[in-house]
Symmetry: C2
Subunit: 217 residues, 2 copies
């Protein structure tokens, strides 16, 4: 989506630009993110920007590409476990998501804005991305039923809705529970204690999803 000129840029300049752009789209939704501000911040002329990208939308879509690529890179780094049963798989997914959020807090913010925020244009790629989570979760629930780990009489649509809602808010919740801000996450790694706490939250969540809140009474 960017032009050759953009890729010809010296690495440091290109990276500085990207950092600034990601920050801008992490701090502001699409309409309020400002090309002018990005240019000012990154120290490049407005005209130059339009030599790199056709327009604001092209930059935004490229940032999403970067986010997707980054996520793929993370997944490639860790072998996807085979033969996991539903609740183990869910837990693993939670952990993956958290790992991405912690490794790329600003990018993750851009991504979640893109998925759940409002945009002044319609984009099919994005639309598909949006649906993907629902479809994947439905598939998982169905497999869960097939393998016997999920009750046969479960209300599939409603269960999927639950999973997606929780998944979407998980990042925010972890941040609150661990007292983290995107800044602190950028500047330091998670301590083992923090990871343990996150792990505990995942365990609790899985426990709740699997057995509910109700007592046996």
């Amino acid at each position: 989506m960017p032009t050759d000129t953009f890729f010809n840029l010296p690495d440091d300049k290109r990276e500085r630009f990207l950092t600034v752009a990601i920050d801008e789209f992490a701090d502001n939704d699409y309409r309020n993110a400002s090309v002018s501000r990005i240019c000012r911040e990154a120290g490049i002329a407005k005209g130059s920007f339009y030599q790199y990208f056709a327009d604001k939308k092209a930059l935004f879509m490229y940032l999403l590409d970067v986010a997707v690529a980054e996520k793929r890179a993370l997944l490639a780094q860790i072998e996807v476990p085979e033969g996991m049963r539903l609740f183990a798989k869910l837990r693993w997914l939670f952990e993956m998501q958290a790992q991405f959020d912690f490794a790329h807090p600003r990018l993750a913010e851009v991504g979640s804005r893109a998925l759940y925020g409002e945009l002044p244009f319609r984009d099919d790629v994005l639309e598909t991305l949006r649906e993907q989570a629902t479809v994947a979760y439905r598939q998982m629930v169905l497999e869960g039923i097939a393998e016997g780990s999920v009750r046969e009489d479960v209300a599939v649509d409603t269960a999927v809705f639950m999973l997606v809602s929780i998944f979407n808010e998980l990042g925010n919740h972890l941040q609150k529970r661990l007292n983290l801000t995107p800044q602190t996450m950028m500047t330091r790694q998670l301590t083992p204690e923090e990871w343990a706490e996150a792990g505990q939250i995942f365990d609790d969540l899985i426990q709740l999803l699997q057995n509910g809140l109700g007592s046996a009474e």
Copy 2:
């Protein structure tokens, strides 16, 4: 928050204005909602607007007042049941929320934007409103434990997080499941069949929250 002048307005003019304003803040987040557009749409001069409200923020806060008042009115209409146990109470809450969403779809949209969207200013009243849901749910879970309907070893914080996440997304989910748009909701009542379907979804949700997705295995 509005001036006397605003309340002195002929009823139809004031109501027309409010309808337009609510639509504007339902369709756009705070920053993108436009006073100029509201004035144009409502057929009043820009100067007049500033005779009714100190500024854009004052209008916005007033709309929230209206929303809260409207919700109170709904609750006053229906007697709050006493002595309900947790899961019955939750179901009742779901139904209340849905009834409000269906009765005032546009206002509900303004409200949820206010609670979960971003604002260019900080407001203590709003902050309190935001926390209220979490506090109330925590209280309910604790009561649930006390009365024995909730497992004693439940992870309270995580359970509350689950409940809040689900509750926040419930409106959207119902809309999708029942194939409704704010417009259709404005123009017609829900059919008994649609209400039944909503009720089924509530039942399913409660069932999932209480017993989880897991099979007994």
